[in-house]
C-alpha cells in the first residue's frame, strides 16, 4: 500500500480515536479551570456510555440515547460537586470513588437487566449515530492528495465527531469571551476574589462540574452508540485518564487540548497499525510503547522538561471561608 494511503488511513483512525478524548478533556477543562479536579472523568464517561446504550436500545433512538448519557453523567457530576464543593471533601478521593461506582454499577445493572454479563444488547441501526458523508466527498475522492484527505479523513464520521471539533472553539469562546467563562476561570484561580465580588463560588463551581458532566455525556455516548453498537464492561478502558493527561499536556487550554487529543489518538492509531509490522532497522515495535507514550509524554511535561504546566491555582482545594 502506498505511503499516502496508509497515512490517510491512520489519520482517519486517529481522528475517530481522539473524539472521546476530546469531549472528555474539554469536560476536564471546565471542571479544573473552575478549581475542581476531576479524576472521575473516566467514571462519568463509562456511566454515560452505559446509559446511552440502554436508552438507545430501549427507545431505538440515538438522540434519546445521547440525552440519557448526558443526564446520567450530570448526575455523577452533581455527586462529585456535592462531595467536593458542598461538603468540601477531597476531590481526588471523590473522583476515585465515583470511578469505582460507575465501573461496578454499570455491570451490576447491565447484568440484572440484560443478563449478558454486563453488556447491553446490540443497538440496532437507528439507535446509533452513523457516519455522515459530507457533500462532494465521493466526487473529490479521486483528486490527488486533497481528495482522499477530504473523503476519508474529514468526511465519513458521525455527527458527534463533528460536534467534538465544534466544541473546541465553543469552549474557547465560552471560557474567554463570556461572563460565565471569566467567572469560571476566576473561581479556579482565586475563589476569594469571586466571593468578594458578590458571586457565589459554590454555584459557579456547580455550574462548571455540570458542564463537565454534559461533555462527558457526549464522550460516553460516542463510545457506546457511535463508535460501537453496545455497551461493553469497562469500555472506557482508561480513556478518561488519557484525556486527563491530554488536558495537562495542553496546559489547560482549549485549542492545545484539541491537538493533544489528536496526538494521543494518533499514537493509538499508529499502535494499531504498527502491530505485527516491523520498522526497518528497529524491528517490531511493541504496541505497549505506543500505549504508554501518552503517559510518558505527560510525565515529561510535568517534569518541566517541555515547558511548565501551571494548574489552576485553587485547583483541588475546597473553598473555605470560615476556617
Amino acid at each position: 500500500m502506498e505511503f499516502f494511503d496508509i497515512l490517510v488511513s491512520i489519520l482517519g483512525s486517529a481522528l475517530r480515536l481522539s473524539i472521546p478524548l476530546l469531549f472528555t478533556a474539554l469536560a476536564g477543562l471546565f471542571s479544573e479551570r473552575a478549581g475542581v479536579f476531576d479524576i472521575g472523568l473516566e467514571g462519568k464517561m463509562l456511566a454515560a456510555a452505559f446509559a446511552s446504550a440502554c436508552a438507545a436500545y430501549v427507545t431505538g433512538s440515538a438522540w434519546l440515547g445521547l440525552l440519557a448519557g448526558i443526564g446520567v453523567s450530570i448526575v455523577f457530576s452533581l455527586v462529585h460537586g456535592f462531595a467536593s464543593i458542598t461538603n468540601r471533601g477531597n476531590q481526588i478521593v471523590s473522583g476515585v470513588a465515583l470511578n469505582f461506582v460507575a465501573m461496578g454499577l454499570t455491570v451490576v445493572l447491565g447484568q440484572a437487566w440484560f443478563g449478558q454479563g454486563g453488556r447491553t444488547p446490540q443497538v440496532p441501526g437507528d439507535g446509533r449515530f452513523s457516519p455522515i458523508i459530507l457533500p462532494g466527498a465521493d466526487a473529490v475522492r479521486d483528486v490527488p492528495i486533497i481528495g482522499p484527505l477530504y473523503a476519508n479523513v474529514i468526511s465519513g464520521h458521525n455527527i458527534l465527531a463533528y460536534m467534538a471539533f465544534l466544541a473546541v472553539p465553543i469552549a474557547w469562546w465560552v471560557l474567554f469571551r463570556t461572563r460565565f467563562g471569566l467567572r469560571l476561570r476566576a473561581v479556579g484561580e482565586n475563589p476569594g476574589a469571586v466571593d468578594t465580588a458578590g458571586i457565589s463560588v459554590t454555584w459557579m463551581r456547580y455550574r462548571a462540574v455540570i458542564v463537565a458532566g454534559f461533555l462527558c455525556g457526549f464522550s460516553g455516548t460516542y463510545l457506546a452508540i457511535a463508535q460501537s453498537a453496545a455497551f461493553i464492561n469497562n469500555m472506557s478502558a482508561g480513556k478518561g485518564y488519557i484525556a486527563l493527561a491530554a488536558l495537562i499536556f495542553a496546559k489547560w487550554k482549549p485549542v492545545p487540548v484539541m491537538f493533544a487529543c489528536l496526538l494521543f489518538g494518533f499514537l493509538d492509531a499508529v499502535a494499531n497499525f504498527m502491530q505485527g509490522k516491523s520498522v526497518p532497522g528497529i524491528g517490531e515495535v511493541p504496541v505497549q510503547i505506543f500505549q504508554a507514550l501518552p503517559y510518558i509524554l505527560t510525565i515529561v511535561l510535568l517534569a518541566g522538561f517541555i515547558g511548565v504546566a501551571h494548574a489552576p491555582k485553587a485547583g483541588g482545594v475546597p473553598y473555605v471561608k470560615e476556617r
Binding site: 469571551r177 461572563r179 482565586n190 476569594g192 476574589a193 465580588a197 458578590g198 491555582k313 471561608k321
Partner: protein, 515 residues
C-alpha cells in the same frame, strides 16, 4: 477616663450616620471574634479602627461586607436596617472593601479583575470596552494610575492595591473599607494612598481605615475606634485623643512596661551578617545588602514597619529562606549551605513570628511539639528511634517551669490558648541553652502576664551570655528589651540606636524619613 464603650458618637449629631452597627456578635468555633459590637460612622469621614493582632477588626469588616455572617446584630446603612447576606448585597448597598489579603485573580488583567462580578452583560466583547473607558475615567479622577491591561501578578503591590480601590469605586462604593492597607506599602506609596483617601473624602465617600499604626490614625482619620479581644472598647474623635491614650486602650494596660534589666556586657561576636540580600519568590528584593553583628550578652532589636524585610531577614538567618547573596557567619562559621537543622546544631534557636504555621504543628500533642526541630537530638532517642518517655518527661519539666496551662503534655496543641502556645515555643527554644537566639514577634496576640514572662526569659537568656536578635513591630517591645536597635526600612538598615532612643526618633527612621 471617659468611658465611651458602646457609646454612639458622631461628628454631627443631627446627621444620619453612614453606617451603624448594632450588637454584632460572631464566633468561629471556640473563638469569640466579635462581642456585641456597636459602632456609628458619620458620612464623609475617615474612621479609623485600631487593635492588636487578632482583636477582631477584619472579622467585623468582613461582616459588614457580607463575607461572613454575623451570629447576631444589625447593620444600618444611612439609617436603614439592611440584611447583608453576601458581598453582592454589600456592593448593592454601596460598600466596597480592600481586603488585608488582596482578593485579585493574579493571572487576570487589571481590567478583567475590575469587571469581575459587574461585567454588564453575558458577553465580554462590548462591555469590556465600556468598562475600560469607565476605568480610565476613575483612574484620572482619583489619581489611581494602573495599566488596564497589566497582569496582576506582574504589578508591584502598590499598584495591586490601587486595583483593589478601583474595583470598589467601579462598583459605585460610597463606603470604602481598607483593611491594613499600609502594611505592604512603602512610605511613598502610603503617602500616595492617603492623598487618594483625602480626595475620596472630599467627594463625600465614607472611609473605614483599619490599621495598628497609631501614627496613621493621627495623620488621616477624623474619628477612631479601638478594639480589644473582640470588643469595641472605645470610640474617639481623633482631634480629642492622643497616641498614648489609644495605645493604652488598645492593649488594656500601661504600655510602657519597663522590663527590669541590667547593663549589657557584650562579649565576642556570635552572629555576623555581611552584605545579605534576600529576594522573594517573585524576585523582589526584600532584604537589601544588610550587614550587622550580634555579640554574646546583648539583645539587638530590629525595628521597622511590618513588611520592610525583617521577616525575610530572620528567615534567612534561621535557614528557612535561601539568601540571594551575602554571608551569614555563626560563631565564626559560615552557614550559607546549612539548613535549619544544621544551624540548630551550631547553637541557634529560633522563635518564629508565626507560631501557628511554623513554630507548632497544631495537630500534634504538646510533647511532640516540644521537640520540633530538635527531634534528631540523641537526648530524645538513640539511633532511629524516639524515646517517648524521655520526651514526655522533658516536656513536663518545661510545662512546670514555664507554667504552661493546662499542664498536660498529651493535650493537642490546638487546644491551648494563644499565649500558652507561644510559651510552648519559647520554652522549647530557650531551654535548649542556645548560643544565639533569634526571636520574631515574641508576644503577638499574647496576654499581659505571658508577655512579661516571655520578656523576662529573653533577658535572662542575654544575661546568661547568649546573643539575642529580636524582631518586633511593637516599638515598645523593641525599646524595652534591646541594648542596640537597628532600624529597617525598605529592606535596608537605615540606622542604629541605643535602647533609650525616643520613640519619635525611631518612628521617623522607620518611616524612612530621618537617618
Amino acid at each position: 477616663m471617659r468611658d465611651l464603650k458602646g457609646g454612639r458618637l458622631s461628628l454631627d449629631p443631627s446627621a444620619v450616620p453612614a453606617i451603624e452597627l448594632v450588637g454584632i456578635d460572631k464566633s468561629f468555633g471556640p473563638v469569640h471574634a466579635n462581642k456585641n459590637i456597636n459602632l456609628n460612622i458619620a458620612k464623609g469621614t475617615i474612621h479609623g479602627i485600631i487593635g492588636e493582632n487578632g482583636a477582631g477588626k477584619s472579622t467585623l469588616m468582613s461582616i459588614l461586607y457580607g463575607f461572613y455572617q454575623a451570629d447576631q446584630g444589625e447593620i444600618r446603612i444611612s439609617g436603614k436596617p439592611i440584611l447583608i447576606r453576601d458581598s453582592q448585597a454589600a456592593i448593592a448597598a454601596g460598600i466596597g472593601m480592600v481586603h488585608q489579603h488582596f482578593m485579585l485573580v493574579e493571572n487576570f488583567t487589571v481590567l478583567e479583575n475590575v469587571m469581575l462580578g459587574v461585567e454588564g452583560g453575558q458577553f465580554l466583547g462590548r462591555s469590556a470596552d465600556k468598562a475600560r473607558a469607565e476605568l480610565e475615567r476613575l483612574e484620572k479622577e482619583y489619581g489611581l494610575e494602573v495599566d488596564p491591561d497589566g497582569i496582576i501578578e506582574e504589578l508591584p503591590v502598590g499598584a495591586q492595591q490601587r486595583v483593589e480601590i478601583l474595583k470598589a469605586l467601579y462598583r459605585g462604593a460610597d463606603i470604602l473599607i481598607l483593611d491594613e492597607p499600609t502594611g505592604v506599602l512603602t512610605p511613598a506609596e502610603a503617602d500616595h494612598l492617603f492623598n487618594v483617601l483625602r480626595v475620596l473624602r472630599e467627594q463625600g465617600k465614607t472611609i473605614i481605615l483599619i490599621t495598628h499604626k497609631l501614627r496613621e490614625i493621627m495623620a488621616i482619620t477624623d474619628s477612631v475606634s479601638v478594639m480589644r479581644r473582640g470588643e469595641m472598647v472605645a470610640t474617639r474623635k481623633t482631634a480629642e485623643t492622643t497616641v498614648e491614650e489609644l495605645a493604652e486602650l488598645m492593649v488594656g494596660r500601661h504600655v510602657l512596661l519597663h522590663v527590669e534589666k541590667g547593663e549589657a556586657r557584650p562579649g565576642p561576636v556570635l552572629l555576623s551578617v555581611r552584605n545579605l540580600t534576600v529576594k522573594d519568590a517573585r524576585g523582589v528584593t526584600m532584604v537589601d545588602n544588610v550587614s550587622f553583628d550580634v555579640r554574646a550578652g546583648e539583645i539587638v532589636g530590629i525595628a521597622g514597619v511590618a513588611g520592610n524585610g525583617q521577616s525575610e531577614l530572620l528567615e534567612a538567618i534561621a535557614g528557612i529562606r535561601k539568601p540571594f547573596s551575602g554571608e551569614i557567619i555563626m560563631d565564626g562559621q559560615p552557614v550559607a549551605g546549612l539548613d535549619a537543622a544544621r544551624r540548630r546544631d551550631l547553637g541557634l534557636a529560633h522563635i518564629p513570628e508565626d507560631r501557628h504555621h511554623m513554630g507548632l504543628v497544631l495537630k500534634f500533642e504538646e510533647y511532640e511539639n516540644s521537640i520540633l526541630g530538635y527531634h534528631r537530638d540523641p537526648k530524645y532517642g538513640r539511633g532511629a528511634f524516639l524515646d517517648l518517655n524521655a520526651i514526655r518527661k522533658d516536656a513536663e519539666d518545661k510545662i512546670a517551669k514555664y507554667d504552661i496551662r493546662p499542664p498536660n503534655a498529651r493535650l493537642r496543641t490546638a487546644n491551648f490558648s494563644g499565649g500558652n502556645q507561644q510559651k510552648i515555643v519559647v520554652a522549647r527554644e530557650i531551654e535548649r541553652d542556645p548560643k544565639l537566639l533569634i526571636v520574631g514577634q515574641p508576644t503577638r496576640g499574647v496576654d499581659v502576664g505571658a508577655i512579661e514572662f516571655i520578656h523576662r526569659r529573653i533577658i535572662e537568656t542575654r544575661d546568661a551570655g547568649k546573643a539575642v536578635l529580636l524582631v518586633s513591630v511593637e516599638l515598645d517591645e523593641i525599646r524595652s528589651l534591646s541594648d542596640r536597635i537597628l532600624v529597617m526600612f525598605a529592606g535596608r538598615i537605615v540606622g542604629e540606636k541605643t535602647g533609650e532612643t525616643e520613640e519619635q526618633t525611631l518612628g521617623l527612621m522607620m518611616a524612612g524619613i530621618a537617618a
